[in-house]
């Protein structure tokens, strides 16, 4: 919930819809500060598919459209808010159509998890956002439960066949087929080493805390 990387300019919010207001304010601040320009910085809000059901989503787009703010919204649509399907929460007209009055550009990666498609859409949306609000909608899928790593196929709110079909089209697996077996092995070894490094750092930090904290 509270992942953060200040150097990369990333922060997180634990309440749905909050991040788009803050991002809109950041984009407004960039403009007031004279920093908005082509190839300049943009504020990016990463949202789920339920964020457009909040008032501040549309309030933020209204502000961004009024002032042509450098704001990019990325909506990862996995079809469910916790366990509630999209059809029970939003009208039939797709979001990209409902957004058209508020953003100057909508890019859609609609092939459920195509990495190259998402990358192309992101580049296009990022460039568009430099001169006014833009949106990138990514239609994707969630394998496990809303919270944690639990397999929720037996809960009854979505068909197991839907989960199985999505798993067969896993984007990482699909991407892996585009490189050689040797290259895949090298990449996996690098990723494993990076993960292990983080574990080592965290364990060393925990040992240090035990030494310096007299209460533990």
């Amino acid at each position: 919930m509270y992942l953060e990387d200040k150097q990369a300019g990333i922060t997180c919010f634990a309440i749905v819809g909050h991040c788009i207001s803050v991002a809109a304010g950041y984009a407004w601040g960039l403009q007031i500060s004279g920093l908005q320009k082509v190839a300049g910085p943009v504020a990016v809000a990463w949202l789920g598919d339920s964020a457009p059901e909040t008032g501040q989503f549309w309030e933020s787009l209204n502000l961004a459209a009024t002032h042509s703010l450098p704001l990019l919204i990325v909506i990862e649509d996995n079809g469910y808010a916790t366990q509630t399907p999209l059809a029970q929460r939003q009208p039939g007209a797709p979001l990209e159509r409902r957004l058209l009055h508020n953003v100057s550009s909508v890019s859609v990666a609609d092939d459920r998890n195509g990495v190259e498609n998402v990358w192309a859409g992101a580049r296009e949306a990022r460039a568009a956002a430099e001169i006014g609000p833009a949106a990138l909608i990514v239609r994707t899928y969630r394998y496990c439960a809303h919270v944690g790593m639990e397999d929720d196929g037996a809960w009854g709110y979505r068909p197991q066949a839907e989960i199985d079909a999505a798993r067969k089209r896993d984007p990482v697996e699909a991407l892996a087929t585009s490189v050689t077996v040797e290259a895949r092995g090298t990449i996996e070894a690098e990723v494993d080493a990076e993960i292990q490094n983080v574990f080592n750092w965290a364990e060393a930090r925990a040992r240090m805390e035990r030494v310096t904290n007299p209460l533990s």
Binding site: S21, V22, A24, E59, N62
Partner: protein, 313 residues
């Protein structure tokens, strides 16, 4: 003020219009027109946007012409702004300036002050100055603060005669009156009535809600409230029915001689006849103070209420 701090931004519905929030933002607009920003009527979004503006380096002040409008952004106030410094280890120097209405038919939804509510939120500083000295101090606080400030202001005080504050401070009064917000005016009237009957009442407006007993005595330079240690009886007065939160927070020891005068605990009606019965009056305050210092029946206090706010809104 805005000319002296290049990071200050003033924003909100009406801050840049010709009326300028009852004239209070006209000077800022003249001094720094690029930093007084008119906004859409999107209170929730604007409250969150304060965080974004602060992250770029601005020190934004969001103005709501009535405090009720801030409630639309309560989730951001409590969970985004108030918690930022602790969750993200960086400052969140933003201010919400909220005006409280009274008189001229403000009615139930344009007359409330939520200072006790805000004061109970961890991470917020809540200020409700009612004298020019306290307001100066509050402005100094918000220009230096690294956490969010709620600055509450009574519309009724805008047109009040502040020269009334220049009476002599008392070293050791019989009773202390501690008004919150615009009930300062009623407390001053009550003090004058008590003086006419030989009771010395000093007036100590409460203005820093997290530190309510650190006050400017009206007419004095001091910033302490010695009545607390001296055992002088205290009458706390305010114009909203929210006093219980504040008294609980003050941590008065049991048995201390404290009386609380607050508004009727029901939604306010718009008609002036209803308003007159809703707010605590100067006579009620004087009578409560009298009862704390004398076993004799209270005298017949005479007071002709003067409504200082004539509208519009």
């Amino acid at each position: 003020m805005i000319a002296g701090d290049p990071r200050l931004l003033l924003l909100g519905a009406g801050v840049a219009d010709p009326k300028g929030i009852f004239g209070t933002t006209l000077g800022a607009r003249e001094a720094a027109p690029g930093r007084v920003l008119e906004t859409p009527l999107s209170e929730n979004m604007l409250t969150g946007a304060l965080a974004g503006l602060a992250l770029v380096g601005w020190r934004p002040v969001l103005v709501h012409a009535r405090s009720e409008f801030a409630l639309l952004g309560m989730s951001h106030i409590v969970d985004t702004l108030a918690k930022w410094k602790w969750l993200h280890c960086e400052p969140m120097p933003v201010t919400l300036r909220l005006l409280v209405g009274r008189g001229w038919g403000q009615g139930p939804t344009h007359s409330q002050s939520f200072h006790a509510w805000f004061a109970s939120v961890t991470g917020l500083r809540t200020l409700y100055p009612s004298t020019p000295d306290a307001y100066d101090e509050a402005l100094a606080i918000i220009t230096k603060a690294d956490a969010p400030t709620i600055l509450i202001e009574s519309r009724r005080l805008h047109e009040a005669d502040m020269t009334r504050l220049a009476f002599d401070a008392m070293g050791s009064p019989d009773v202390a009156l501690a008004p919150v917000g615009d009930s300062l005016l009623d407390a001053l009237d009550a003090a004058a009535m008590l003086a006419a009957h030989g009771v010395r009442a000093s007036v100590w407006p409460i203005w820093d809600l997290q530190n309510p007993w650190c006050a400017f005595e009206v007419g004095a330079e001091s910033v302490t409230a010695p009545y607390l240690a001296a055992g002088i009886p205290v009458v706390i007065t305010e114009s909203v029915p929210a006093m219980l939160c504040l008294t609980a927070q003050c941590g008065f020891p049991p048995g201390r001689n404290v009386s609380v005068m607050c508004a009727n605990p029901a939604p306010l009606g718009s008609a002036p006849q209803i308003e007159a019965r809703w707010y605590p009056t100067a006579i009620q305050i004087a009578s409560a103070a009298w009862a704390m210092v004398s076993r004799q029946a209270p005298p017949e206090f005479r007071h002709r209420a003067t409504e200082v706010f004539h509208g519009p809104f």
